[in-house]
């Protein structure tokens, strides 16, 4: 019987293919190759082959003498399982991994045939909803929120936020102080999402593969002229041949490790095309030296704060469960400390937190803002502004804690029950141990803040139920943790919470940016959950995704790594060392790693993928020399836009945006990087990221580019598992709980799914309440690892004592004598700052270049984006869009600078020409700018090299915050500003 079924299926394949070929797109696809595909059982007892010729297909029973592709099944059961139109993918993958099905032949043909069969199934799906004006409403997800994308005649007409309709589930309601709050029935989006159409159609799009004119892969490669010589257009075949040949050559000549893949984060959204997905799968299949990222937005929390209280798996920042409701019901005061969620949107969350903060304002909750900049959050909400000098935040924290001790206004009972080491800490505050009481007057010289204000703040804080919000997310992310004193500051934040009864009603960390009552258990994988990577080591794949979406695992055989901030040094000096970002336990960060690693080749080829990251690397001009170094034999850059460091590549491969290919994703969901991160949203939104338009020019999706390179290495089928990107989307969909609520067909049409809110009676407990009340942990946080509990599982924190430790035992054990990260968190003035007197004489202004407000990383900036026209993003002068620096009226006046003037911002590391914004919104002595400009545009003007692109990290130090860490410190940077009289672009 089974044999008969198999024979019938094989017979039916021919008419199915012929029928499909009636659709022009499929006919074209079928006509791409003339070949013979043999399908058979390995014992040859059943066999049929298919002859494709000129777009026609014919099937014949039996063996062909010289088939191009052979698909052989071990037995009849395997064949039937795999030929099922809706197969059990666990079985398929199992059969493939264990050689129960073997596909042989030219890789390109294997991939073509497998995808062809899938494309026939997909052709039946209706994508999007037709509109009265002739457009079709499709969906996408971006770094700034989900969007409807209206398309007509192959062109994007408009994008809008998604308004939920009646068929979407009801929203939650929070009742607080006699009022009811229900969020808008809409996904609010960030400006960079609203600008996406201009980004897709940017004039900086790379439309053809290109090769540097004086690069000859078989002759002179001229690395010294990278960034100088121009490019010529080449064909995809030539480009891919060069890259594939070079991969082979590198492996043969230098051996494993010589290929380096420095990726960038967040240039596009989606679970399939993301770097932790398709790129990782590609990289693992060829073997590569990994770039070890530093915890760039978490530095002080990871290297400092976590040692006091654990939370290594959250990169040292606090959780936030239940805090929206707790804050609205109980709190009197929110202290925003280096925290500007209105600018940075909690990373990907659009303006979801904004509405909740406006509720807080309605309820009369008061606000305080400690920031060198009167930032967007302070502007919207109002409240007392503390214009603090950058990097001096720990001094302010000490003075506040001093007042609490002197006035007896800290939570003595909590400290006695839930902490260790307080006496030593108190002695330091009071100056008993070092002769310097940390009084409000003591901090004046450091911070520039009047002692009276500090005393008033300390008293207000202690007498009110207070939420402390350090960083944009409300408990971390960006700001002061990215300066020389970042760890001191983050450590202080934890100690302040310990002194005020962290976890008691109304006393917590947060700013209403996260902790909404959405359903946390509804499963959909986040972007760091591995996607299609098959990688179990460097993504969170093993936690859920690998079980839920069986796929063939991949492994990178190369253990060698280069710390990201030392990428240039590794090339220029031939060596580098760093410390790992690994959250599995607090101890992991103490073991250094070195490059090169014994047994591996130093790097000789760079495969750059993703967005430009030139401007996010400190002291970035180091990279220019590195890119031109003779040891780097080949640089390929797979990029959407011609910007940043793309101009240093030998071969440029044009990738398309996520609106030109299929992907799937959940808004704001980082998975392993950001557990339950979607609880910063009012509604969880999961969307198919439709292929809205065809790739522009000759550009291709990253997935397609990887496939075609790997086809040349015989690995195409291994990479694709026979799937198109849409097939992978379907596999992700089916792995998730969405498939329990909506069919794949409906999902493709409607495009999005809103997860029903958690039932009122099922709302989760409040972060740290269990700890404050001495109960076992009761929030749904699968961390720390079971082994990390001090005593009994689920009781206490993951510190050795299980308590908050004023003097961390982990530092006592692992790093007891580090003068830059002392066990007792004493104040050490920034190594680059006002206390560095000699340097400050030459460069008297402190620059902070924070995460940008309107763009995200380098996406949506530059490249002719609509964002450029926002008055506070860039300023047009003489036809060029300049990056903006903000300075105080006093500093501007003394330099003869007016708003809108061009200025040179400089120090010994470099010079950037910017447009000046002059206002009282910046503390005196401070220059406020943003990092992450997409542009790097060096010009030699009057004999001096200046950047007119806005790459502020040309000016920042590459030094780590502290010895024994790999921590960037861009917010401790001294500069001078002069009015710029030179000619512009």
């Amino acid at each position: 019987m089974k044999r008969l079924i198999l024979r019938t299926i094989l017979l039916a394949l021919t008419p199915m293919l012929r029928n499909a070929a009636k659709k022009p797109a499929l006919a074209r696809e079928m006509a791409r190759f003339n070949c013979v595909v043999q399908v058979k059982l390995m014992d040859q007892s059943i066999a049929r082959h298919y002859v494709f010729q000129g777009g026609r297909v014919s099937g014949r029973t039996g063996l062909h003498s010289a088939p191009d592709v052979v698909i052989a099944f071990k037995d009849i059961e395997t064949a039937l399982a795999l030929l099922n139109p809706d197969p059990d993918m666990a079985e398929v993958v199992h059969c493939a991994k264990n050689f129960k099905v073997v596909m042989t032949g030219r890789s390109e043909l294997q991939v073509w045939f497998s995808q062809l069969v899938n494309k026939i199934n997909n052709a039946r799906l209706q994508m999007g909803v037709p509109q009265p004006d002739g457009t079709v409403r499709l969906t996408t997800v971006t770094n700034g929120g989900p969007l409807f994308v209206y398309v007509r005649n192959g062109k994007i007409v408009r994008v809008t936020p998604i308004d939920f309709d009646k068929s979407d589930p009801p929203s939650w309601t929070i009742k607080a102080r006699g009022k009811s709050f229900t969020p808008l029935r809409r996904g609010t989006v960030a400006p960079h999402a609203m600008a996406i159409k201009s980004v897709v159609y940017s004039d900086k799009r790379i439309l053809h593969p290109m090769k540097r004119v004086d690069f000859d892969p078989d002759g002179a490669r001229n690395p010294q002229s990278r960034g100088i010589s121009g490019y010529e257009r080449i064909s995809w075949d030539e480009a891919l041949d060069i890259v594939a040949k070079e991969i082979v050559r590198q492996k043969r000549v230098h051996g494993p490790g010589s290929i380096f893949i420095p990726m960038s984060s967040h240039h596009q959204w989606g679970n399939v095309g993301y770097y932790l997905s398709a790129l990782m799968r590609f990289g693992n299949l060829i073997g590569f030296t990994r770039m070890a990222a530093n915890p760039d937005s978490w530095e002080g929390w990871y290297w400092g704060a976590q040692h006091h209280y654990g939370n290594s798996m959250r990169v040292g920042i606090s959780g936030n469960y239940g805090t929206v409701e707790d804050c609205l019901k109980e709190t009197d005061l929110i202290v925003f400390w280096s925290s500007d969620p209105e600018s940075t949107n909690g990373a990907y969350m659009g303006f979801e937190g904004t509405q909740r903060r406006l509720w807080a304002k309605q309820l009369g909750i008061e606000f305080v803002h400690i920031d060198p900049h009167f930032n967007a959050t302070a502007q919207l909400l109002g409240g007392k502004w503390f214009p603090i000098r950058p990097t001096t935040d720990p001094a302010l924290a000490l003075a506040i804690m001093y007042v609490w001790v002197m006035e007896g206004t800290y939570d003595k009972d909590y400290v006695a029950r839930n902490t260790t080491g307080f006496d030593e800490w108190r002695d330091y505050l009071l100056g008993t141990s070092d002769g310097a009481p940390k009084t409000p007057e003591w901090q004046e010289d450091e911070t520039g803040l009047p002692a009276k204000d500090v005393r008033a703040l300390a008293r207000k804080w202690a007498s009110r139920k207070t939420y402390l919000s350090p960083g944009t997310g409300g408990s971390g992310f960006g700001g002061a943790c990215r300066g020389a004193t970042g760890a001191q500051w983050a450590r202080s934040m934890i100690l302040m919470m310990a002194m005020q009864g962290w976890g008691k009603p109304g006393v917590n960390m947060g700013n209403l940016q996260a902790g909404t009552p959405v359903d946390l258990a509804f499963y959909f994988p986040g972007y760091a959950d591995g996607g299609i990577s098959g990688d179990l080591q460097w993504t969170a794949n093993a936690v859920n995704n690998y079980q839920r979406m069986p796929h063939v695992l991949t492994m990178n055989p190369v253990r060698q790594m280069i710390p990201r901030q030392q990428f240039p040094d590794a090339i220029l000096n031939g060596q580098a060392s760093g410390y790992l970002w690994d959250g599995s336990a607090s101890e992991v960060q103490f073991a250094p790693f070195t490059y090169p690693m014994p047994g591996y080749s130093p790097i000789h080829m760079i495969y750059r993928y993703g967005g430009s990251f030139f401007s996010t690397l400190t002291d970035s001009s180091r990279m220019i020399e590195a890119y031109r170094h003779e040891s780097i034999e080949f640089i390929v850059n797979q990029s959407i836009f011609l910007e940043g460091e793309v101009q240093f590549a030998d071969v440029i491969l044009p990738a398309c945006t996520s609106l030109e290919r299929y992907d799937i994703g959940e808004w704001g969901s980082g998975g392993g990087y950001l557990p339950h991160g979607f609880n910063a949203l009012n509604h969880r939104v999961i969307a198919l990221q439709h292929k809205c338009v065809e790739p522009l020019g000759e550009s291709k999706s990253d997935y397609q580019i990887f496939t075609e390179i790997l086809n040349r290495l015989g690995l195409g089928a291994m990479f694709t598992e026979g799937c198109t990107e849409l097939d992978w989307c379907k596999r992700v969909f089916k792995s998730s709980d969405v498939a329990k609520h909506i069919s794949w067909k409906q999902f493709c049409k409607k495009g999005y799914f809103v997860v029903p809110a958690e039932r009122d009676e099922m709302r989760e407990a409040v972060n740290m309440r269990w700890f404050a009340e001495g109960r076992p942990k009761d929030v749904p946080e699968a961390m720390p690892l079971p082994s990390q509990y001090a005593k009994e599982f689920g009781k206490g924190l993951s510190t050795p004592s299980g308590k908050i430790e004023f003097l961390p035992e982990i530092l006592k054990r692992a790093d007891p004598n580090n003068a830059e990260r002392p066990v007792l968190n004493k104040y050490i003035a920034a190594w680059e700052g006002p206390r560095n007197v000699e340097l400050a004489k030459k460069f008297p202004l402190q620059m902070i270049a924070t995460h940008s407000r309107y763009s995200f990383h380098t996406s949506a900036d530059g490249k002719n984006s609509f964002i450029n026209d926002l008055a506070e993003h860039r300023t047009m002068v003489d036809g060029h869009y300049y990056w903006i620096v903000r300075l105080s009226a006093e500093d501007a006046r003394s330099r003869g600078v007016d708003r809108g003037d061009l200025v040179k911002v400089f120090n010994e590391r470099g010079a950037v020409i910017c447009a000046a914004d002059v206002s009282p919104m910046v503390a005196r002595g401070v220059v406020k700018s943003y990092e992450s400009s997409a542009e790097y545009q060096p010009r030699v003007i009057d004999g001096e090299t200046v950047d007119i692109g806005g790459c502020m990290n040309l000016l920042t130090s590459s030094r780590s915050q502290m010895k024994g860490t790999s921590s960037m410190s861009p917010n401790s940077c001294l500069v001078e500003i002069k009015k710029w009289a030179g000619r512009a672009a």
Binding site: M194, Q379, G382, K384, P387, A456, I867, D869
Partner: protein, 280 residues
């Protein structure tokens, strides 16, 4: 009476996110809506912009943002300047005919609000058309309202009487009342941008230690008559808002259990940050 589209913008809720400006660019740049609007250029004809107003100094400042666009005036000066080119629809939306307006760069100056941009490429004056083409398709609101995260922008279709009532009840103001164009874009909390404010911080001293004087009674007077009264907050701070530009001179008295103070303030050309006021 016919109902006209109106836009009500709450200045206190605008945080300058730029979404409204971007939505206007997204909608009109490169898109042709025959009968409504020709494609807007990528840049140079900004029909939507946000203006910034900063008041105060030192640690006591506030900032307001005002989205500005075509006011769809009932007595539109642009229509008076070119009645054959610009028309006002039944629903109050003002449209510039993209065919007839060709070459009429003079119309840019016809708008006293600066809300008509010049499309150099097509040689056309262009305005923000209230998304009339979408309203006609059944959209319930213009895109600037939909993308606004704080609800600072709200549209309403009201007859003149209803509009007058809403204006009165909510204290809505025209951007520039002196122009008498009967604009249909009106603002709430416009004082945040247009009025003057006096900021100050009261300090007490006890045995050489300075502290913020909370709970002080601060009176603002003119010609000896008390105009307003405030109580300083926990940081000793106070702010008198909504004062007329050029108003004054004012006097201020401060009373607190630990002392008193008196301050003379001249005419308010700009807002004033008095800084620290020491009680004696």
């Amino acid at each position: 009476m016919s109902e006209h589209w109106r836009l009500i913008i709450d200045v206190a809720l605008c945080e300058n996110c730029g979404n409204c400006q971007l939505a206007a660019k997204d909608e009109y740049v490169g898109n042709d809506f025959p009968g409504y609007s020709a494609p807007h250029p990528l840049r140079g004809a900004e029909t939507f912009r946000i203006e910034r107003f900063v008041r105060g100094e030192g640690s006591q400042i506030d900032v307001a943002y005002v989205p500005r666009m075509c006011n769809h005036c009932a007595d539109a000066p642009c229509i008076k300047a070119a009645p054959d080119v610009i028309r006002r629809r039944e629903d109050g939306i003002v449209l510039i005919d993209p065919k007839r307006a060709h070459g009429r760069s003079d119309l840019v100056a016809a708008c006293p609000y600066g809300a008509i941009g010049w499309n150099a490429e097509l040689q056309l004056p262009q305005n923000w058309i209230f998304d009339a083409h979408l309203i006609d398709l059944g959209w319930k609101q213009p895109r600037c309202e939909q993308v606004c995260p704080t609800g600072a922008i709200a549209s309403a279709k009201l007859d003149d009487e209803g509009f007058a009532r809403v204006k009165r009840e909510q204290g809505l103001e025209d951007w520039s009342p002196g122009l008498n164009t009967r604009p249909n874009v009106v603002y709430k909390n416009l004082h945040r941008a247009k009025s003057r404010a006096i900021f100050g911080s009261i300090v007490k001293e006890d045995q050489g230690v300075q502290d913020c004087a909370a709970g002080a009674r601060v009176r603002l007077l003119r010609d000896g008559a008390a105009l307003r009264e405030q109580v300083s907050d926990d940081f000793g701070d106070f702010k008198f808002d909504g004062l007329e530009p050029g108003g004054g001179p004012y006097q201020m008295t401060v009373e607190h259990e630990s002392g008193r103070a008196k301050v003379e303030i001249g005419e308010l050309a700009a807002s004033v940050a008095l800084g620290i006021i020491q009680l004696r």
